[in-house]
């Protein structure tokens, strides 16, 4: 509650609720120390890689345990745990997203383990892995925070570690360039967000999301323009983080320069966390920016999100048509997918359509697996071929038939074709949009999917219909192989039995308790 302004210290019992975050932080410090004290001859991939993976899995275990514990007996509306004057919340919204972040990060660590050995440009092998941990903690904080301050701290934790991670290939000038670009755009984005937040605080006198939501209807009459400024700056700032059009221009450059696993991290975890933040902020504040007299602010802000979504989908897919560089292409595909993910957020809640979160998280899960899988295949191919051009995939049918088959599944999912998680993810979002009568958006979504066939099938053309210069078999490292096949299996499972996941989400998530910060 926002009136609880006085400081409430954490108790030992609260520590238990924070187990996922705390365990991850503690293990992070432990790995840092290990890296420092252990002699050089100990393999850093082992310390960095496998220990980081272990830490992520431990934290994942805690989150799942929390989720099951809170929703035991099919009670989706279980009480939320509020910590530190409601600035940090343990609810199912956060828990579900944390599962996505941790699972995504684990897969990314796996593919990093597989790909680092051959990458001579990376000098600090262990750091490269364990820096992912604070980044994930930041993402988790963003998903769980109940006020603007803790949200911003989470955002910065995530951002600053990502800047370092992007520049991790120290011997490559491209990586340095990418890190610098990311630092600048990321800084601008943070500035935008902070600027917007300051307006919200100025108008409502509260940093608590619930407090802002409660105060907004009263403030509309006097501070309409200021509220617009606040909301739109926040949206623009997160638009940069999410990399939706027109804020996407940094993404191809950064992805190209960054180590491939880090690019996957930006595409999945970073993007997901920013989307989660937008989701939480807008539904607690802008959603209530409506009175009987004047309902425009709420409408306009949500409509702006839909416009961003449409722009992301169309720009991402059309720009990717002529792209020959795989990482740039995947970056642009990420722009389009950011658009798809923004649709359920921007649709707002109406009487006929209130399943936004389920649609959002289902597609996020599908997106996680297909994107990480595609990046994993890319690292496998890149080991033998150089720059990550589309034509490096040529003749893959002959060189690695099973990996090529795996890639087909992932590509079909990315293109939104059955039977795959991507198909149902898009279908659920489409149905949601049609429920909300946003037919123009339905048309744009479907149209951009069709455009995207061309470049996703471009991979298939290369893999199956062309023969490359090299005949040598591609050897996929075990860790990468595991990552690829987990992603493929999950993509297929999501395509064959989408109902199970959706039921699970519905059983855990409740609008009133888990989303709203009262």
């Amino acid at each position: 509650m926002h009136e609880a302004d006085s400081f409430v210290p954490l108790t030992w019992a609260d520590m238990l609720h924070l187990a996922p975050e705390l365990s991850l932080s503690a293990l992070f410090i432990m790995i840092v120390l290990l890296d420092l004290v252990l002699p050089k001859r100990v393999n850093r991939i082992w310390i960095g890689g496998w220990l980081t993976l272990g830490s992520l899995l431990i934290s994942l275990g805690f989150v799942i345990w929390q989720l099951l514990d809170r929703n035991s007996g099919g009670n989706a509306a279980a009480e939320t745990i509020q910590l530190l004057a409601n600035s940090y919340r343990i609810d199912d919204f956060g828990s579900l997203l944390k599962i996505v972040f941790l699972a995504g990060a684990s897969l990314i660590v796996l593919l990093a383990i597989g790909s680092t050995k051959d990458d001579d440009a990376i000098t600090d092998r262990a750091e490269y892995f364990y820096l992912l941990l604070p980044a994930v903690v930041g993402a988790m904080a963003m998903a769980s925070s109940g006020n603007l301050i803790s949200l911003y701290i989470g955002l910065e934790l995530l951002s600053i570690t990502s800047y370092i991670l992007v520049g991790m290939r120290k011997k490559s000038s491209k990586s340095a360039e990418a890190a610098f670009k990311y630092l600048v755009t990321g800084g601008i984005s943070s500035a935008f967000i902070l600027f917007g937040m300051s307006y919200l605080y100025g108008v409502t006198g509260s940093v608590d999301l619930g407090g802002i939501g409660a105060a907004i209807p009263g403030a509309i009459a006097d501070f309409k323009a200021l509220l617009y400024v606040g909301f739109f700056f926040i949206l623009a700032g997160f638009g940069l983080k999410i990399a939706t059009a027109p804020f996407h221009a940094w993404a191809p450059d950064v992805y190209q320069g960054a180590p491939t696993p880090v690019a996957a991290f930006l595409a999945v975890v970073s993007k997901g966390a920013a989307l989660a933040a937008v989701f939480r902020i807008m539904y607690n504040t802008a959603f209530f920016a409506a009175t009987d007299l004047d309902a425009y602010i709420s409408k306009d802000v949500f409509f702006a999100m839909l416009v961003l979504a449409a722009a992301g989908m169309l720009t991402g897919t059309t720009a990717a048509l002529r792209q020959k560089q795989v990482k740039r292409l995947l970056a642009l595909s990420g722009v389009a997918n950011a658009g798809y993910l923004l649709v359920p957020i921007g649709l707002s809640i109406t009487v006929v359509h209130s399943s936004n979160f389920a649609e959002f998280i289902y597609y996020l899960i599908a997106y996680l697996f297909m994107t990480v899988g595609a990046f994993a295949v890319l690292t496998a191919v890149n080991r033998t071929a150089g720059e990550g051009e589309m034509k490096d995939f040529a003749g893959m049918y002959y060189r690695a038939p099973w990996t090529a088959a795996a890639m087909v599944v992932l590509l079909l999912s990315l293109a939104g074709l059955p039977i795959s998680g991507g198909f149902f993810g898009k279908l659920f979002i489409l149905i949601g949009a049609a429920n909300a009568k946003a037919y123009w958006l339905v048309a744009i979504m479907v149209a951009s999917s069709v455009i995207s066939y061309y470049f996703y099938f471009g991979f298939i053309r290369q893999m199956f219909m062309r023969s490359g210069g090299e005949e040598e078999e591609i050897r996929v490292p075990a860790a990468t192989g595991i990552a690829i096949w987990v992603c493929v299996a999950a993509t297929l499972a999501l395509g064959l039995f989408p109902g199970i996941v959706m039921e699970w989400i519905d059983g855990a998530f409740s609008l009133q308790v888990d989303l709203l910060v009262k």
């Binding site: 059955p418 009568k437 069709v450 109902g499 998530f509």
Partner: protein, 544 residues
Amino acid sequence: MSILPDIPILSFILLSPLLGLLVILFLPKHSGNLLKTAAVIATLIPLALSLWLYADYDKQQSGAVYEEQLDWVEVPLNKELHSDVSAFTFKLQYELGVDGLSLPLLLLTGLVTAMAALGAFHVKKRWKAFFVWFLLLEFAMLGVFLARDVFLFFVFFELTLVAMYFLIGIWGFYNRERAANQFLIYNGLGSAIMLIAFVILVNTAGFRVEQIGEQVQYVYSGSYADIIRNMTDAGAMVNQPAVNEMGALNPFVMSDTMHRTLFIMLLVAFGIKLPIFPFHTWMLKVHAEAPPAVVMIHSGILLKMGAYGLLRFGLLLFPEQAKSWAAVLAVLGVINILYGAVLAFRQMELRLVLAYSSMSHMGIVLLGLAAFNEIGLQGAIFQLVSHGLISALLFLIVGSLYERTGTTELTELGGLARSLPFTSGALLAAGLASLGLPGLSGFVGELLALLGLFESMRWLAAIAVLGVILTAVYVLRSVLKITFGPLPDKYAALKDARLIEAVPMIVLLAFIVLLGCYPSLLTDTVQYSIGDVFAQLLATRAGG
């Protein structure tokens, strides 16, 4: 008493190609003959099963119904805003069914695919992958004709797209990649429009409030049966006024504009597949570039999916709109017939002649649909089956000719009747069937469709008949060019069809003759099940 209704026969038919696919996956990659044999056997199973079903269905008349249903995807929707509701779900069923409309096409699929598998002798590389995609394609096509849930239908429809993309792009002729791309984008666009229409349909007509005792349930259903029941039920939400007497808005209402828009969307979506002029360019490329066995399937079955979809979703769900658009359909049909026929006459490449001929013949299907009476619809369905058989046979022969002569340019070919008497004979027979010689199946379809149209739109029917004459001209022109005239020396030593080529030719030809001489074999089946539905629709909803 037959045991068929007691076993999940439809699922058996649908899944049997997958069984073959599994077997093929475990066979060694380089043993071509083994793979081919396995593939042929795998295609014979659904053929045998659907023949059995067809025979049994006839006896039953409209007795037992073949329907199988399983809840596939049941998505709970958020119901926190509806306090009075016990469940709010979105349902997507694994629902299969056959009626007189889909059964002949199902059988056609089994038959043509089996013959295409036999005729796939010209595949010279990567047999294993070829037959994997081939069987997946068969699975998808069977699924299209069996599915009774709009999204399940869509899933299978898209699956054919993916499988065809591989089949064209890897095993096609010189420009195969371009043909595959064009195929993908055009048909992707069609499917996209279809998906939008389906999503809107499920959102309005698919919604139903179910009352079970005290409990009220809201359900969005993708089931075709539910949708058509809601569309015809005046009490369903979709047919309620937009604002009820208490002033509450009804979000599920389908306005007249919406009806019309949806019908047009479906017309375009399936029109691309059919293909209706001007959406036909992709189909020419596929005819010219895909390997002959795949074109047999493409021309023999995939084009029929367009007509089937148009009939099942366009006409049956939106009879009023279809009726008011009948003239447009008929005009489009006439354009298809004449445009296809004239261009077929101008082509110097046999595969393109046949491509335009397919377009022309699909125009007749449109005429049958546009006639909007029972004879016309009978004719349309008959024409679908008949053209499926004829074009499969023609492309089988094209494959044989190409294998021997290395060309399908009309200028290069000639006099083959002397060196290839059997193949030439089959070509002549197929050509005669194509131009509608009485006694062969092509005649019956054209006659019924034109008769139907003559009842409702006399003048258009008269113009369409011109197409029949043109067909005779272009068919005879190419057939005679190939079989008669001087025989170039290089073709003198060619060997006639082997047994493996002759068998599918004979089988297809046998069916063509059988249907030509004994059309009620097909028309009766159609009549039993579809007659009632149409009579009812025509009487009650379209006002006669």
